[in-house]
């Protein structure tokens, strides 16, 4: 399979005053096309740091990382922003929709940043909302949507630019059980039906149990990387 994300020897150190705190201690990881992967580990294990580095939001102290063969460490901030726009979709724990835009406008937003013509982006945004089952709520602003609905809009936004990979940071943490189940089912369906690659940092067993690849980070290293069949994922 083709590696969408290829991390080699990734380290990340933070400075806390005069103390050097290692967050990642040499991570080698390849995320392949069509992966539906969870990234788990105890708090402080480095999973969010790794997700940030994979997403081009943060830079490694050492090591190399490439997305679709493009070396992220060689890019400046503007180019990194462009790469995030075109190749990476983000789903956050706190939804992070733009409050002054309606659901469809939120989904359209990244397409606007990509200079997609108005008619095409509106069509694609509506199509995405349809995929996540929110076609009847396209004109509602986030404040008039439930948490689960907002997260589904966030998923639609992440997918609108047809990214190489969707990175989700604790996507179900703020959702009740049923809503969380629905969201996992949605992402799983998108993965199976359209081959969208997902990497989700999570503590949530409901998410972990549905992924076909389970990566555990401990003390800044990959402690285990397990591939499972769909039946095992349940």
């Amino acid at each position: 399979m083709t590696a969408i994300v290829d991390c080699k020897g990734i380290t990340k150190h933070y400075r806390q005053g005069s103390i050097d705190v290692p967050a990642l201690r040499g991570v080698d990881l390849a995320i392949e096309q069509g992966d539906f992967a969870s990234l788990a580990g105890p708090s402080g294990s480095g999973k969010t740091t790794l997700l940030n580095i994979v997403g081009g939001l943060d830079r490694p102290t050492d090591g190399t990382i490439s997305i679709d063969g493009q070396d992220l460490t060689a890019l400046d901030n503007e180019d990194l922003a462009d790469l995030r726009l075109r190749k990476i979709g983000f789903v956050f724990q706190a939804y992070n929709l733009i409050p002054v835009l309606s659901a469809v406008e939120n989904v359209e937003f990244t397409l606007q940043l990509m200079d997609v013509p108005a008619a095409e982006r509106r069509e694609r945004a509506k199509e995405m909302l349809q995929q996540v089952g929110l076609e009847s709520m396209e004109n509602r602003r986030p404040s008039r949507l439930s948490g689960g609905q907002q997260q589904r809009v966030a998923v639609a936004r992440a997918l609108a630019s047809r990214p190489s990979i969707v990175l989700a940071d604790e996507p179900t943490a703020n959702l009740d059980t049923q809503t969380a189940e629905d969201l996992i089912a949605l992402m799983s369906r998108l993965n199976e039906r359209y081959g969208v690659t997902f990497l989700m940092a999570t503590h949530d067993d409901r998410v972990i149990s549905r992924t076909r690849r389970h990566i555990v980070i401990a003390d800044g290293r990959v402690a285990s990387d397990e591939r499972r069949t769909l039946e095992m994922a349940g």
Partner: protein, 406 residues
């Protein structure tokens, strides 16, 4: 995209936005009104002073202003006056001759400026006639009549109908002497003018002072001072043709011009202070808003928005805020000023002060494009420049740091 987003963003905190808009709008309204009042006051002051004696411009022999010698004269001025009144904006031109003389009434003697005027054309340039408080002003056909300032009349114990003796030096060096009859007494409110000026018919003056039909200057007037200011280049061209110089109002009344400039400078300080206060209020509000939305900016960067795009969006928010406030300020300020222009602003108790410049105690603001827009636009431009601070701050944000902020 950024424009629409920025516009919606400013309405996320409607109360805060309303307060910010209110600050800008009130400051804008104040500047519109005060600037219009100031312009109105300056306009009234200039026109009142100039209409009293000088006219809006004068044509004089070279060096006459510094050394008003009766021998510096303009012969054959008829065609010159015809040329002047033919100019666009010029409604009247009147010839004058002037000298100094000793005036006596019985044992009382005082020195005074004697001005020979043409009563018919003078009334179109000077409104001294309207300040006559006893007797009457000079009329065409008057021979030996004079009008005397109230202060001088008091000193010489004169009243209308009395005679006074004039003794001066004529243009050819001979004695200029005559007995003149007081037709009227004027009171301009200007103590200097009332104490030192006497007007007499030009024909009599030319005869008494051996002027051989010449005059010392031509005073010019128009409907408005601005008309004559616009005609100054043409006046100067005609003046050069006759070996004369054209003097505009700033040269005729340099003290008034300097006083207006000084007052304008102090007012500018006031306006600048007002603008700075408003800019700080708005900037503080926006920086607070930037701080509150740092996490959101991090999210926007995460989904692919470039820091400069976010910076531009924040700057646009500031421009919308300042622009909307400025428009409200211009509208409210213009409406209030327009009302005040019709009603007038009375300044009770200032009559004595204002009368020094022959001004009424009610002032009328002068609403113009400048007065309506200068203040609000200054606020808008200042806010736009100050907005580069949050712009720069946003541009320095790193996505992870921003997303971690509370």
């Amino acid at each position: 995209m950024l424009v629409g987003l920025a516009w919606r963003n400013i309405w996320r905190q409607p109360h805060r936005t309303a307060l910010s808009l209110g600050s800008i709008a009130i400051a804008g309204t104040i500047t519109v009104f005060l600037l219009a009042l100031q312009q109105g006051a300056y306009g009234t002051m200039k026109e009142s002073v100039l209409k009293l004696m000088d006219g809006f411009a004068q044509l004089q022999p070279p060096g006459y202003a510094d050394d008003p010698d009766i021998r510096k004269s303009i012969p054959d001025y008829g065609p010159l006056i015809a040329d002047l009144v033919a100019l666009p904006g010029v409604t009247a031109a009147t010839p004058r001759a002037a000298s100094y003389a000793i005036l006596s009434n019985g044992p009382q003697s005082y020195g005074a400026a004697i001005i020979g005027i043409d009563p018919a054309s003078e009334a179109k340039v000077s409104n001294l006639g309207s300040t006559v408080t006893a007797g009457r002003y000079l009329q065409p056909g008057d021979e030996n009549a004079v009008v005397v300032g109230a202060g001088l009349a008091r000193n010489l114990k004169l009243k209308p109908g009395d005679s006074l003796t004039m003794l001066g030096s004529a243009q050819d060096g001979s004695i200029a002497a005559n007995i003149l009859k007081v037709a009227g007494i004027f009171s301009t409110g200007s103590p200097d003018l009332d104490r030192q000026v006497v007007e007499m018919p030009l024909a009599r003056f030319q005869q008494d002072f051996a002027m051989s039909g010449s005059v010392n200057l031509i005073a010019v007037s128009g409907e408005r001072l601005s008309d004559i200011n616009a005609a100054i280049p043409s006046l100067a061209r005609i003046a050069r043709k006759h070996d004369l110089v054209a003097r505009d109002w700033t040269q005729l009344q340099p003290a008034l011009h300097d006083a207006i400039l000084l007052d304008g400078s102090f007012s500018a300080l006031l306006y600048v202070s007002l603008v700075i206060i408003v800019v700080f209020i708005i900037l503080n509000t926006l920086l607070m808003s930037v701080l509150e939305r740092t996490r959101e900016f991090g999210m926007l960067m995460a989904i692919g928005m470039k820091p400069r795009q976010i910076g531009r969006m924040v700057w646009l928010e500031l421009l919308f805020l300042a622009g909307t406030g400025a428009v409200i300020g211009i509208a409210a300020g213009s409406a209030i000023t327009a009302w005040a222009t019709r009603q007038g602003i009375p300044f009770p108790g200032a009559e004595a002060l204002f009368s020094q410049w022959n001004m009424p105690s009610t002032l009328y603001p002068q609403l113009s494009l400048l007065s309506a827009t200068a203040g609000p636009l200054a606020i808008l431009v200042s806010v736009a420049i100050a907005g580069l601070i949050p712009y720069a701050r946003v541009r320095r944000l790193e996505p992870v740091t921003a997303m971690r902020s509370a």
